[in-house]
Symmetry: C2
Subunit: 355 residues, 2 copies
């Protein structure tokens, strides 16, 4: 049997309510809360809560509970006993493992997946992997996000994750300063894992995928699923302002209207990311003024003024952070998250059938 | 009929000896000469000569002649009358159109395709398009390479090319400083062209594609073909030193072992590229020393010393320019160019059948 068929079976056995290839909503800190994650899983995908980092975790226990409550009256078909058909994502360097473990241990239903991203080092990642497996009695499958071939192999050996998320340079928000797109990263990673006897780990592609064509392409490259972040920003369920959402819809030509930079992190006071990470966002006056040499203090002052404008802090004269991937130009309208999943699954199947 | 089927028919009618999806060897200045281009076309692809720019064109007429001579005894099936089943690529900003036109006009067989890249502006590109069409009596189909959605639409309207080459950020050698990978660039371009009534133009994807999985992914994204440069560097037909070729095979993890920069252009004295271009190459001591702050003059002196070492100018201690794309990590051995085409076509078909 081809590796890809084994992977599809693995993911289907973990997540029986889903349709192959697996479509996930990426955990986005403060953005992907229960309405979005639930809608994605209900439509045959796997929705992730952005549990985030730092004090975000204060809300994690109640977020798990509200999600479980919302799904109690309409359980998803085939969900394994004791499992919540929803995933949870942590930014490891800034999140407290003990808090996460306690919430998962006390939850009657364990998240179907826990997505780990950006640890300080491999030891921390191993601690998270073991801690979550312990706290969930193995019910929470471990997803680990990487952005290089070397990291994929190292993490696969050290943590034996259930899924590896392979993030390419096109992804919105945080990712590696230096990486390639999934067009070469995904197959090179697949080959490197296979050469190490680790080819059984399913790969989920992320970065630049926003529609069925992208999901079909990811499948061709060797992925068993795809994670989309930017696409779900244009759903009403995403917890962002209308100004942000409108900029996602407005931005075209994603390779030139977005850029990887740490300018937005600095302006909004996002601190603590390891140096080898930055974040892709839509260009606006904050970036252009930075590029023209505006001192940081002045730029920050203007940023803080803009932040008081609400939705008007975005738009033509906008300065506010608008994390988004290069796929932003393919997003032309707002659509409910469940409809996005159904459309993407349908278009991916049609694309593959056409080929 | 789906747009992709129409495109496949269009390309098959231009290039009847080829197998769909169209696999091309990208024109690489000084690197892709007649043995490589001929081998690619003989294997069912479309090989391109790198006619280049500047004084490179002094050799263009004889390059066309030697290619025609080599193919005279074994014509490719279905080649249209008066057509040489080989393409030619020009770097427009540095090439003399009159010289190119004269050589094509005087050649008994006209190149099946002329690939235009990096004009100073759209007027120059329109002059090239019209000039080549005139000189070839329309026998040379016009391919134009772009790296943004806006450029694709503008060029399609102004020049009505026969093919658009959509180059993503993963590509080796010269390309735009700012762009996305084909994962989002290709479908966004396809949609933008369709919205302008220009959806009939076939798209060829370039950047990060080195094997059948990449070609299959490009097809899923909406391309009718793929152009590979880096992969063919690892063929004996590529006119590069063994040191360069060995570095291509040695480099792994293409997202971190290569980078887009103008450091190598400056060190090797490559001048004249418009500011919005740089080039992706394999990292080595030239780049690392630049990054550590070594003055350009000192770096250039070391570069020139390294250039006297022959193949030893590459390798562990290497400093020499090694243009290559992010797909470099997927290339593990040297293979004849024709075998590359056959393997890629076979693997692309198998990948699509698997899906």
């Amino acid at each position: 049997m081809a590796a890809s068929s084994i992977h599809a079976e693995t993911l289907q056995s973990h997540y029986p309510w889903t349709t192959a290839p697996l479509v996930s909503s990426a955990p986005m800190r403060l953005i992907t809360t229960d309405p979005l994650a639930i809608a994605v899983s209900q439509a045959g995908g796997l929705g992730f809560l952005g549990a985030g980092s730092g004090t975000d975790l204060d809300r994690f226990e109640s977020l798990l509970k509200s999600t479980a409550d919302a799904l109690a009256t309409s359980p998803l078909p085939g969900t394994p006993p004791g499992v919540l058909p929803i995933g949870v994502g942590f930014i490891c360097w800034g999140a407290d493992l003990a808090t996460a473990m306690q919430a998962i241990r006390e939850a009657p239903l364990k998240p179907a997946a826990v997505w780990l991203f950006a640890p300080k080092d491999t030891d921390e990642l191993m601690a998270w992997t073991q801690g979550i497996r312990d706290a969930s009695d193995g019910k929470s499958k471990i997803w680990i996000q990487v952005g290089t071939v070397a990291d994929a192999v190292q993490v696969a050996k050290a943590c034996k994750p259930d899924v590896l998320v392979i993030q390419g340079a096109d992804a919105g928000g945080h990712g590696l300063v230096r990486s390639s797109s999934i067009i070469s990263l995904l197959p090179e990673t697949a080959d490197a894992l296979a050469a190490e006897g680790l080819g059984h780990i399913p790969l989920v592609a992320a970065g630049g995928i926003v529609d069925g064509r992208g999901v079909a392409a990811a499948s061709a490259l060797g992925a068993s699923g795809a994670a989309m972040g930017t696409r779900f920003l244009a759903s009403p369920e995403a917890a962002i302002s209308e100004g942000y959402r409108n900029d996602v819809i407005r931005a075209k030509d994603g390779g030139v209207s977005t850029i990887r930079t740490n300018v937005y992190d600095r302006l909004r006071g996002t601190e603590g990311w390891p140096d080898h990470y930055n974040a892709r966002g839509v260009l606006n006056h904050s970036f252009w003024d930075h590029e023209k040499g505006m001192p940081h203090e002045e730029n920050k002052r203007l940023y803080e003024e803009a932040s008081k404008l609400g939705d008007a802090g975005w738009g033509d004269q906008g300065r506010m952070t608008t994390y988004a991937g290069t796929g932003v130009g393919l997003i032309t309208k707002t659509m409910p998250a469940g409809d996005i999943v159904r459309e993407v699954l349908r278009d991916a199947a049609q694309t593959l059938a056409r080929l």
